[in-house]
Amino acid sequence: MEAQATMNRSVAAGAPPAVSGVPVRRISWRPSRMQLGLSALALITLYFVTQASSANLFTFNSCLLAAMGAIALNALMGTAGQVSIGNSAFLMVGAFATVFFYRLGLPFPANVICAGLAAGVAGAIVGLPALRLRGLQLALATLAAFYIVQYLANEYQSRASNAGSGGFSITPLFQSKGLVGAQKYWAVTLLVVTAGLIVIASRTVRHRSGRAWRMIRDHETAAPALGIAVTRSKMTVFALSSVVIGIEGGLTAYLTGSVIVDNFTLLLAVSYIAMVVIGGLDSIAGAVIGAAIITALPTVVPKVVAHVIGAQSAAQKGASISQIIYGLLLVVFVTSSPKGITGWFRRLQERAAGRRWAFKWRPVEQAAQRSLSNTPFAGPIRKEAGSA
């Protein structure tokens, strides 16, 4: 639907009506949703770079990094419908591969890119079971991958010289720019990287491969009949999303300056799922919004809570309170708003366009008029007795 809308818009924009005698507005350029989003992101970055302290900037940078992973997971889970709870495995591969190449002596961008490729290979290997397994079993396969990667990373960490239980430390990027300056440089760098990723990702999911992924998500058995190479598509989406997550892991290592196995938990993987679900499945803007919310929670919540229960106990309890909040958010969104935050926007838009809620079930004849893309997932649905 989005792709179609953009197309219509560009056709309309390309041929301004020329009526003689009436002054024609020369510039009828309307920004696409992606351009609007990117400019908003740039403005927010500008705000943080000019205003914020280094701590806030660090949180903002973490949000941008998380947004990369969320976009990747969104392609895998939201667009292609492959459930993965092994994201921290790929983050771990990215971070540890970066350390590996760093210790080999590769300079900055090269080692992160190599780490991304390594994560991509790991993703393709984990994707192998995806060729045979679906849904729950695939989720368990990614869980298995998590434990296997964790073991390997632990071995590497304990065997490597001058690492040990404290993990590895690498020189953070832009260290020479000072505490705040480094974070500012990071913000701009990450903005460029994330914006590039957004452009690439939205092109990918709107075009041929994205349509193939959606078909696999909704009707895997029918997809081959439409000439979709299911095997290749699944492998591609697994590998691509792992490359991005791996690069994110490497960049995170450079941002924080330390890599340690204990940081990559199953809960981290769940938080990425939360980002995608809260933001809205199959929506890149949603992934970014969800990433911002989930990443900012542990920083924002203690500050808010401090007003209620005092600063000291807020510092103690902030982490668990924010965990409760994000779990609740996850549950609430799944039950009452499964299309996530972008679902709200879409609903508002549809309302503004004079249509009634596309959300509620309506009588058959009306439902038939509804465009197919409004159905959240036409694929295998949870069935229950319902009103029977």
């Binding site: 045979r132 729950l136 073991y151 924010s322 007795a385 319902g386």
Partner: protein, 291 residues
């Protein structure tokens, strides 16, 4: 020889715990086709409750146990009624995502209420002392608890297979519409199966806490039940028990001969191998690839 017996009995004792967890997960899965990723929290909560109770008041394990199990059963039922029922009609993985959310909430709540303590649950009524089997020495408590978990798991499995209630419960999960036309109150069976699943997990947690330290890592024990369920064949109740025993014994041997740091990785590697070569498991039905 001694080592083999140690691995075997240690493994069976682990397997008994896994069997209870796996039964609970399979039960909830059979009823509502949702895999409960919050089962570890369902184990930990009663174990914490009993541990905290025993730290404050002396003895009276029974009351604490009942209280802990009641709490977790209420949570399970509330989760089904308030959350899972409302995910009907959505993609299957939304149910899983909801259980992940529940796990996060319960983790946070337990951290708030209990902090991160380390309890050992005392059960003085259990036989103490040491029993020697084939040259290997075992504590009588462990053996009793192992027997208890195995008998309980077998009883629940038999109850689900042979009684009318169990049959109705399975029917409700298999074909809700047909079952409801047969006069089965499908919703109430689903609700009860979530309560039972939570209670089974809670018992497993408390029993585990009687021989091991109860801390937040207990949650990971439930995750080991997943390989057991896959090996047993996802939707099979007997399969879950047998798969749990196999995983337990496998872990017993791994721990003895290869070292406990390899436990997780080898268990999950086994899971991958089984899923790739034999995705149906031992007793699973073929149509189960539906999530």
């Amino acid at each position: 020889m001694t080592q083999i017996i140690v691995s075997l009995i240690g493994g069976v004792s682990l397997g008994g715990t896994y069997a209870l967890i796996a039964l609970g997960i399979v039960l909830a899965y059979r009823a509502t086709s949702t895999f409960n990723f919050a089962d570890g929290e369902f184990m930990l909560l009663p174990a914490y409750f009993v541990g905290a109770w025993q730290a404050k008041h002396d003895a009276s394990l029974g009351v604490a146990l009942l209280g802990g199990l009641a709490i977790v059963a209420v949570i399970g039922v509330a989760f089904y009624l308030l959350v899972l029922q409302r995910t009907t009609g959505l993609h299957h993985f939304m149910g899983i995502v909801a259980t992940l959310g529940l796990a996060a909430v319960l983790d946070g709540v337990m951290l708030l209420i209990f902090g991160s303590p380390e309890y050992t649950i005392r059960a003085s009524f259990l036989p103490q002392g040491v029993v020697t089997i084939g040259g290997a020495r075992f504590s009588a408590t462990t053996l009793t608890l192992t027997a208890f978990t195995l008998v309980l798991a077998a009883c629940v499995a038999a109850w689900l297979r042979f009684t009318n209630t169990g049959r109705r419960l399975r029917a409700a999960g298999q074909d809700p519409v047909l079952a409801s036309q047969g006069g089965i109150n499908v919703r109430s069976y689903y609700t009860w199966s979530w309560a039972l699943a939570a209670v089974l997990a809670g018992i497993a947690g408390v029993v585990y806490g009687m021989t091991n330290v109860v801390d937040s890592s207990l949650v990971n024990v439930a995750l080991v039940a997943f390989p057991a369920i896959i090996i047993g064949g996802l939707d099979s109740i007997e399969g879950a028990v047998i798969g749990a025993l196999m995983i337990g014994i496998f872990q017993g041997f791994v721990a003895t001969y290869l070292g406990s740091q390899l436990l997780d990785v080898l268990t999950y590697a086994l899971l991958l191998v089984v899923m790739l070569t034999f995705p149906r498991g031992l007793f699973g039905t073929k149509q189960v690839m539906r999530v």
